[in-house]
Subunit: 209 residues, 2 copies
């Protein structure tokens, strides 16, 4: 009787390939890493690789999905703590996000390399744009809930706030990688985002008598 | 009598090499471009190249100097117009910066490639950090003057404001390159920076009776 590969096993294979890919990308860069390198690290044949991923690009999209899901879950937990002020939320979010600095640094480098690849490659660009949209829409939902539950109003569309937060997080992390120690972890976001949250007015923001 | 190369001629040589380098980097990427490619484009020998630049890295540092000087001059002009409100200044600054979109896009890609190179290369990192410090300190000076002359107070150190503005500008331009049309030119900066400028309070910001 021919066996049907069970879904948990397939999922474990994907996980193992993604972990190997993440290591090889960190060592050789996205451009320098080959599918062969990744198969060798994972201990899989090229056949097993290609039955799970069509290309190196799909590995980055898979890693992005893992990273975004973990990040959004952490932000959601930090933002849903009752009675926390916007400043608490932002402090808690960045404390939660900074507990795996090495993983975050790796991801920043890979995402930057893939962005350059996407700028020069139409297929990668299309996939990357749709990935970014998914991430932004998950974040817009979290921010909308957090803002509404505290009776705040953002001074700009939530989508623009999320794009600005992503740009600040990215810029801050890049500046820290180039010049360690120049900025504290999350310093730009923790300084700028509370001013934006306060800028829209609303109630429940420390103005109660 | 042995001739001493006159400074204007040397400077014209440097300009020609930098222009050629900028074109070749745009076509092949920083990693893909060779000194030979750049010499061929500029119509110079390798000897002429190396009497002006020690390496490919120095070309990027030279281009950065050109780009930063032009950018800071444009910001200074926009910020020094008398009787302009902070919103006017930010609008004028981004109008001034957006008039050469193709050059800016090219520079964004090159600067991103070089940042990745600097993360992996100690010598490049040291030079890049010192270049970024010079740029930030020129911008801090312009912002301090613009803010003081309007009686404003920033809600954060000027250095952090400048780092945030750079992160927003970079993130916004990158998002636009990946997904043209998703954001207007300068949209993040024009939306976020006025909120930061208003967030510090101060007088002369439209509150006069």
């Amino acid at each position: 009787m021919p066996s049907v590969t069970p879904s948990p096993r397939r999922s474990a294979t994907r996980e193992r390939v993604l972990t190997a890919a993440s290591e090889v990308f960190a060592e050789k860069g996205f451009g320098g890493a080959s599918v062969e390198d990744i198969c060798e690290r994972a201990g899989f044949s090229r056949g097993a690789f290609y039955s799970n991923f069509a290309s190196k690009d799909e590995l980055v999209l898979g890693l992005s999905r893992q990273h975004a899901e973990a990040t959004v879950a952490r932000i959601r937990t930090a933002a849903s703590r009752p009675d926390s002020t916007p400043d608490d939320v932002i402090r808690d979010v960045f404390a939660a996000l900074s507990d795996d600095a090495r993983r975050n640094d790796r991801w920043l480098v890979l995402t930057t390399e893939f962005t350059l690849h996407a700028i020069r490659n139409r297929g990668a660009r299309r996939a990357w744009v749709s990935r970014q949209r998914e991430i932004r829409s998950a974040l817009v939902e979290v921010v909308d809930e957090a803002v509404a539950s505290r009776g705040l109003t953002l001074p700009m569309p939530t989508e623009v706030f999320v794009r600005a937060a992503m740009a600040l997080a990215n810029g801050s992390a890049t500046q820290r990688l180039v010049e360690p120690g120049a900025l504290e972890q999350g310093e730009l976001e923790r300084t700028v985002l509370p001013v934006l949250l306060a800028g829209g007015g609303g109630h429940g923001h420390g103005t109660g008598a």
